[in-house]
Structures are given as structure tokens and as C-alpha cells.
Subunit: 245 residues, 2 copies
């Protein structure tokens, strides 16, 4: 059997997240159906990241096994012909037997987009978090520095996560004001707890609003107390950018 | 009577362009209905730019007259409550009687987004023009310079335009490679012929592909011959960014 790795982009707006569930349409299911149709037999795929309802991805990674003779790099074209246009296989390749999309992952990069204006955006709706009050970017940048490094991020985890340890390392956390009222929060780390990026984004938005002081971040991290951090920012602003192996 | 100026953002995907037509839904009609509902009487609005089916806007400008007592800057909030989320009034203000959204305009800025990758984008679909062959940005930048200045742009006009003169001045034309495989073409000028920006974009894409030589642009402009320029790039990549008064 051969193992095929897929890099996947999707607009999460019309899907009930990545993982297969009863009675709702998910990204995983949609891709499995396309591959099964292509190969003529039932194929299951294993994705790295179980993105939530409404979350987008530029670089989700999944793998599947097959005895098909299609060259590894040609799967992307063949599968894309059978997918709706809001899911695209950006790259496919044959990988060694010991590769696993989830267990081999060494880190991830996420982007969170805030749309900061008195009025919502018609073009960035479903693709960003609309925040009305003018955010203080400098305060957000100061706060961002405190997240970098290895910490116990228990205060930045929603209930529902099933992990033994809540210690994670954040390699970088960059805040950038882009054109058209967009603030981008880009975070790279060795792993993320359930909703961790969205809670960090929500906390940074509170810092930008002046509801949390930038220098309070270390205390919030040390508290291990979810109620001390900001609210979980909505799914539509979150993009899974890249997974490192 | 008071005159109110509106700045409008819209995602053009689900509209049959700006201008009211029979049997299809347009942006103008949708806004007129919202304002008419707000004010309790039939209101007509006059927009600056008759954007085509699928074209987007960050900065369309329109005006209407009313004897309503609503403060000028509050119309945006009141109208937005009655609009679908893919059309947003970003700003409203009372203007003097002699203001006219179309006739007072001194220039416009457009953006054209090309998505340049072997596979389409799930996230930028309907918001960019997907071009598969790798484009040579440096050639496109060299070609862009030739458009700047006052020229007769007859070669860059689709049939259907109703203008006396085809002379226009382009103030700037910037090509920039952005992240995530996006190439942005940003053009500012004192006015644009019918489909002019889309034909310039299509021509620059041909230059990037090597189908037209960069240094051929002056000859194409001088020819006044539409068949010499590149094809009209599709509507979904075009954004009306700003109108100057």
C-alpha cells in the first residue's frame, strides 16, 4: 500500500468543521467522498487538525493509504475535479509508511484576522472577526511578547480538550496592521490546546480595547484560570496556515 | 431638501452589478429598497460607477436627496440594519446641493487581484482571477510603467462604452506580489473607459505569461486597436477601491 499526503485549502463557511459527524456536512467527509469516487472504493483520510465549524485552512494536512497507481503529485488534480470549489487540494505527494498527518506534526502556524471598523465588512464577512472599538495595536504588540516561549496554557483552553499536559511552546506571535482595516495575528507553536488561538486572539482584542492591561498577560498565564483570559474569538477569523513536520 | 453622500462596500458575487435592471437583483436596487423602507417613501440613489456583474467595491459612492431629519452621519447605521450583510454603507454624510456622485468625481482607484497558482484558491474564489502559469512579475512591472500618463486608451475599451473621448490619464499603476499567491494590480486615474481596468489587467497577465512583450505596450496603446491588447480579465478580480472628489 502507498501513503499519500494532501495539503488542503478550504473556506470553512459552509462546513460543520473538519471531522465527520452525523447529519452535517464536514470537510473530511467531502474529501473522502471525492477520493472514494475517484478510486472506486471506500477511502478514509486522517487529518492533522480537527478545525471547528467556520474555521478556514490554507494548509490543512491529511493522509490516506491506497494501492492506486496514480502518481503522488497527480492526486491533487484528480481529486479537485470531484470537489466543490470551496475545498481545494493544493498539493499531493507520496510519503513514507511512517508518516502520520497528526503524530508526525512538529508545529503549526495559525492566522487570526480582526476587522476593526465601526461598520462590518461586506467582503471580509465570514472571513474575519468584526470588532467595532478602535484597537490600540501598540498595546497588543506589547501583550503578544508575553505569550512567546514555553508556558502552561491552561488559562487558554476551552473545556472539551483531551490532553494530558497543557504545556505548549509558542515560537512567534506577530501582530500586524494591514490595509483595509485588517489586523492580523499570526502565531506559530509546537502545538495548540482546544480553542487556544481563538482565546489568545480574544485576549489580545481585550488588550487592544483597554479591558486587559498588556502587562497583565504573565499573571493570566500563571493563573491557569480560563476565566482570567479574554473571550474566545469567533471561528470565522481563524485560518490554519501551515503544519510543520 | 438635503443631499446625502454614501460610501458603500459590497461583495459583488451575488448581484447583477450596480445598476437597476429588470428581473435581476442589483446593488443599487437593494440599497434603494433599504433607504425607501427606512424613510417610508420611494427613494432613488445615483451611484458613481456602474460596476458589472461580480465586481466588488470597497468605496463606491452614491447620493440621494431627502427631507428626513436623520443626521447625515447616522444614515449608515440606519440603512445597514436593513441591508443584507454583503452590502455595507461604510460612511454617510450630508453634502452641499451641488455635489454629484458621478459628475463631481475627479478620479478613481481600482484594484485587480490575480491568484497565481497551479490550483485554484478555495478562500479567494469569487474574489480573484485564477491564473495557472507562473507569472513573471518583473515583466509585468516593466509593462505597467507604459500605461502611466495621458493616452488615448481606445485599445483598452470594450464595445458598449458611450463616451465622446477615449483619452484618459493614469496617475499610477502598481503591481505587487502579496502573500498567499496573490498579485495585486492597483491603478489610479482620472477616469476609465468601459472594462478598461479589466483589459489592462488581462494584458498585464499576458505580459506575465510571455504572450505579450512588455515593451510592446506603447505600440498597443498607439494602435487604438482592441484586438491588440490582452483579453478582458474576469469581473471577480476587480475591486472599486476609492473615488476622488
Amino acid at each position: 500500500m502507498r501513503k499519500i499526503k494532501l495539503k488542503i485549502e478550504y473556506d470553512g463557511t459552509n462546513y460543520h468543521g473538519w471531522q465527520i459527524q452525523k447529519n452535517v456536512i464536514t470537510v473530511q467527509e467531502t474529501i473522502e467522498k471525492a477520493i472514494s469516487k475517484l478510486l472506486g472504493n471506500q477511502v478514509g483520510i486522517i487529518g492533522c487538525s480537527r478545525t471547528d465549524v467556520g474555521v478556514h485552512a490554507y494548509g490543512q494536512i491529511a493522509h490516506f493509504v491506497t494501492d492506486s497507481k496514480i502518481p503522488g503529485d497527480k492526486f491533487s488534480y484528480a481529486i479537485n475535479n470531484l470537489l466543490p470549489s470551496d475545498i481545494v487540494i493544493k498539493q499531493s505527494e507520496e510519503v513514507s509508511e511512517d508518516f502520520h498527518s497528526r503524530y508526525s506534526a512538529k508545529g503549526k502556524r495559525y492566522r487570526y484576522l480582526v476587522y476593526n471598523d465601526a461598520h462590518a465588512s461586506a467582503i471580509m464577512k465570514n472571513r474575519s472577526y468584526h470588532v467595532r472599538p478602535k484597537l490600540d495595536i501598540e498595546k497588543m504588540k506589547r501583550a503578544a511578547k508575553y505569550f512567546i516561549g514555553e508556558h502552561d496554557f491552561a488559562a487558554f483552553q476551552s473545556t472539551g480538550g483531551q490532553v494530558l499536559s497543557t504545556v505548549r511552546e509558542i515560537f512567534s506571535l506577530e501582530i500586524e496592521k494591514k490595509e483595509d482595516n485588517i489586523i492580523s495575528i499570526e502565531v506559530t507553536g509546537n502545538g495548540f490546546l482546544y480553542n487556544m488561538v481563538r482565546i489568545i486572539a480574544g485576549t489580545l482584542v481585550y488588550v487592544g480595547m483597554g479591558r486587559i492591561d498588556a502587562d497583565e498577560i504573565p499573571l493570566i498565564i500563571d493563573s491557569l484560570d480560563r476565566t482570567r483570559a479574554g473571550k474566545t474569538a469567533p471561528a470565522e477569523g481563524l485560518y490554519l496556515m501551515e503544519i510543520f513536520y
